[in-house]
């Protein structure tokens, strides 16, 4: 296997980690499987496309606005819909988020149409050579962004009062509530944070690849695979999980051809779930 291919796998893994980080955060704190995560990712890409298309923003400049926008959309959904459902039944949000994902797809189709879109930027198709290895600039930027956002998430969760509140709510919401924490608000802020991270992944996906209103599902599956490899509640593990997924894809494609890529990846996914349900990297960096 050439170094080019291996490095491409590692860097693509960074983008996978960015997509998986939000899913892992929501599941770790809310114990809720968010099936609309793919649409949060794609929603971020579409929000950025408005700023890129109409205001002439560079996608990286549009990125924080897309993150804020998706966070603002996700907060009330969690605060006034999903948390209530979560308290009524742990399974209800699963159905609700699935329904919301379908609604989001329909809205995106109605507003933006079904043709694929991409976010243009000078670095979208640029590359550079480092130590003889050809590197795609956008994936290098995504990788760096993922490290920054993983680091920020880790620091917020472990070094701030807000992070302590989130971890307390995750560990025992009832006790946290009795101690005066507004668990509903913490849940909503967590979802908003996850949506912001998803939007960041969406913007970079839009620059590196393309997106349509129905692109969310494969991204959701990618996120789940990363989460399974990483283990719940491990921010550093998510980064390693994403990289593992990217490298696995590259190795399997190189060894067995593209037709076996998903087979290899999801076999590892199921083996991990079966034999190490806590994830491959659970102890790496506990949140």
């Amino acid at each position: 296997m050439s170094a080019d291919v291996m490095v491409a796998g590692v860097l693509a893994g960074g983008l996978y980690a960015l997509i998986g980080l939000g899913i892992s955060l929501v599941f770790g704190v809310l114990k809720m499987m968010n099936l609309m995560h793919g649409e949060l990712v794609i929603g971020g890409a579409y929000l950025a496309s408005l700023l890129v298309g109409y205001a002439g923003f560079d996608p990286l400049l549009a990125l924080p606005f897309a993150m804020l926008g998706m966070a603002a959309l996700a907060y009330p959904v969690q605060r006034y819909l999903l948390t209530g459902l979560l308290r009524a039944s742990p399974n209800a949000p699963l159905v609700a988020t699935f329904g919301l994902s379908l609604v989001a797809q329909a809205v995106l189709q109605a507003v933006f149409g079904t043709h694929p879109k991409a976010l243009n930027a000078p670095y979208a198709d640029a590359g550079f050579t480092l130590a003889g290895v050809r590197i795609q600039a956008v994936y290098a930027i995504s990788f760096a962004l993922t490290i920054v956002l993983c680091g920020a998430t880790h620091l917020i969760l472990t070094r701030t009062r807000a992070g302590s509140a989130v971890r307390a709510s995750a560990a025992d919401p009832m006790t946290a509530s009795m101690l005066g924490l507004n668990v509903g608000r913490i849940y909503a802020l967590t979802m908003a944070g996850a949506a912001a991270l998803a939007a960041a992944g969406g913007v970079m996906t839009g620059v590196a690849q393309s997106f349509t209103p129905t692109s969310g599902l494969p991204l959701l599956l990618t996120g789940f695979a990363v989460m399974a490899l990483a283990g719940i509640g491990s921010v550093g593990g998510v980064l390693l999980g994403g990289i593992t997924l990217g490298v696995l894809q590259s190795i399997s494609t190189d060894l067995f051809g593209g037709g076996w890529r998903n087979f290899v990846v999801y076999t590892v996914f199921f083996l991990t779930l079966s034999f190490r349900p806590s994830g491959l990297f659970r102890r790496a960096v506990p949140a």
């Binding site: 189709q109 198709d125 956008v138």
Partner: protein, 391 residues
Amino acid sequence: MIRKSLAAALVAVVATAACGNNSNSDSAAQEIVLGASMMLSGQVNLETIRDGYQWAVDEANAAGGIDVGGAKRTVTLKILDNRGDTSTMVQQVRTLTLTDKATALLGSCCQQNIDVQAQADSLKIPLVMGALPIELLPEGKGYVWDSFQSLGDGAKGFLEVASTAATNKNVVIITTNDAQGESTAEQWKTAATQAGFTVAVKASEPAGTTDYANIITQAKSADAQVLIAAMTPPDCFAMWKQMKALAYAPNLAIGIQCAQTPGWTSLGALGAGTLLQMNWTRTSGLPQADTIVAKFGTKYTNDNDLASVAIGYHEASILLSAITKAGSTDHEKINSALAATDMSSTLGPVKFTANKSATPSFIGQWNADGTISQVWPAQGASPLKPLSGLS
């Protein structure tokens, strides 16, 4: 007395209802229903083909309906959205045929047309489709008719164009790994070899692949200067960006299926110079090409979309003509009339052999301004430009 009055009232009600039903039945019998289960939401939106269907039906109704056995009968188009879901499509085709009593069916698009074919054959209802290259239509029970371009003709056209360009004739072929992709790969590999090209790299990837580094590395090593890609649009988007970033610059590239979307313009300058196989262009000289531009050119500015309108009109015209020729709404008679079709419509001449009729193919090239120029065949063509997007 009361019993007699009630009985009389009951008889009157039943008789009225029966008369009403007869009236509806007559009305229904006068109407020709054309049905279609197609993708109008989800990953693909075929509203362009639907507009073509509607145009043909509106035109027929504006003339007082179509002549069926000496009587003018209006045509109703009943289209259901299956969102690309096969089980929904199966249910809808059954409903259109058995409940709505559709006279005949019109097609969807692409791979889904193969699934629709099986349903039409099992229900023994005539179905006219396009948007599926004729080589990909499986052998069925004879109720499905495909009038569309041939992959072979497209390959021949591209290779003629490629022969005139300065390349080393080394080719990389990459397709999706589904049945359509594998079939396309074999067709193009054979055609390329026969035309004196060398297929240096041949690869197939699942739809949804985003990392093509291994194939790009192989193509660079093999110095493949001609790229043939038959993939979904998002996959091509990812690969085109990766090719540029990894400094792979073929001299010529065609995006079969993937470059045939108006969304290709989202690639900006990167997409300029890419070739695509087309079934229609505004400079093609095909019947009613100018009318299509005049009628739909404002709604759809891109030739790809207008080509889909042409497909819809073409299919519906073939079917309406066959119903008139059959002089009946009987499925078997319409099917026999379809077999004897000899006409010309928006995609060109139609004459079926083994339920297939090849329409002309064209090779187009994306310009930097998001328009498409026909570069093959010579009639109506502009000169080939360099593949500037990947250089």
